[in-house]
């Protein structure tokens, strides 16, 4: 078989390993079917644990913010004044709205309203894209004015915090994209909606972090 088949086989085996795994016993294809209730509650407990780690990841940045704000108050004042509050507020509104649409999507899937789920997920992803574009403008505006991550401690925190948050927005968009793809394939319904709820939890966390980042960076100048 030609080189093309081998490479697709390898890529396919890495991307979708379960097909490659020889079924261990007849009825089970690699993942174990517990009763749906345990599956649902354990997925959510696992996700909340993961959210705890994300919270502590950003916790490091909030701790750095707290210490260096107390150490260099006036640097943080001027730095915060130089940020564009209007763009920040617009971004906050967009993110909170996307949080609403995800919550509606989670509710809709439990009532089997697949069409509503698709619309809501699309809106969320579009909002995330707009947030990213706003961020891009904000960054390029700053780079244009010669402000870079290294200029001073405030801008280091600003770029570090919003940069890591931006990374999480992209991860959130990817997660929601995969969910949307599977909704189109009809994988989720009234009795199999855990994945969407867990994806929603992740997106709410991304929004939650921004709710704290926005006032601390933009407003307390």
């Amino acid at each position: 078989m030609g080189i093309y088949d081998i490479t697709t086989k390898i890529i396919k085996s890495i991307a979708y390993p379960s097909e490659m795994v020889p079924p261990i016993t007849e009825e089970d294809d690699g993942h174990h079917h517990f009763d749906p209730e345990t599956e649902h509650s354990s997925m959510k407990l696992g996700m909340w644990l993961f959210l705890a780690t994300e919270l502590l990841l950003f916790g490091g940045l909030f701790a750095a913010y707290a210490i260096y704000r107390a150490k260099y108050p006036e640097m943080f004042m001027n730095g915060s004044k130089s940020l564009d509050v209007v763009l920040g507020t617009v971004n906050t509104v967009i993110l909170i709205f996307s949080s609403l649409t995800v919550a509606i999507a989670v509710k809709a899937i439990q009532e089997n309203r697949i069409k509503l789920v698709k619309i809501m997920l699309w809106i969320t992803i579009v909002c995330a894209a707009i947030f990213a574009v706003n961020k891009y403008f904000e960054y390029s505006y700053k780079f244009g004015k010669g402000i870079f991550p290294g200029t001073d401690i405030f801008y280091s925190i600003y770029f570090a915090a919003t940069g890591v948050h931006m990374l999480h927005v992209f991860i959130g968009m990817a997660v929601l994209g995969v969910l949307l793809n599977k909704v189109y394939k009809g994988k989720y319904s009234k009795d199999n909606f855990t994945a969407i709820e867990v994806g929603g939890l992740y997106w709410h966390l991304v929004d939650l972090i921004w709710i704290y980042l926005f006032p601390l960076l933009y407003l307390v100048g």
């Binding site: 916790g59 709820e197 601390l216």
Partner: protein, 93 residues
Amino acid sequence: MDNHGSYKSLINIWLLLMFFTVTTVGAAQFDFGAWNVPIALIIASFKAGVVALHFMHLKHEDSMTWVFATYPLFLLFLLIAFTATDMFTRVAN
């Protein structure tokens, strides 16, 4: 299973969040001096609480999820408290 509340309640919560966003931006216009940060943090915590309880259904979760949701906040407080006390009690001995 946990299909609580209605679409209307979700929209109300969103409006409440919008209201808080407006208040926090409004509060930033006046200079409360040293109180700026605490006010901003209180409003942000309100918003975060609302999102966590309603959008993330924390209200209907069992106690174990509550523990794993709130314990990291205590650890974060520990990290900031000890590092800050160290930073600001370094008297020249």
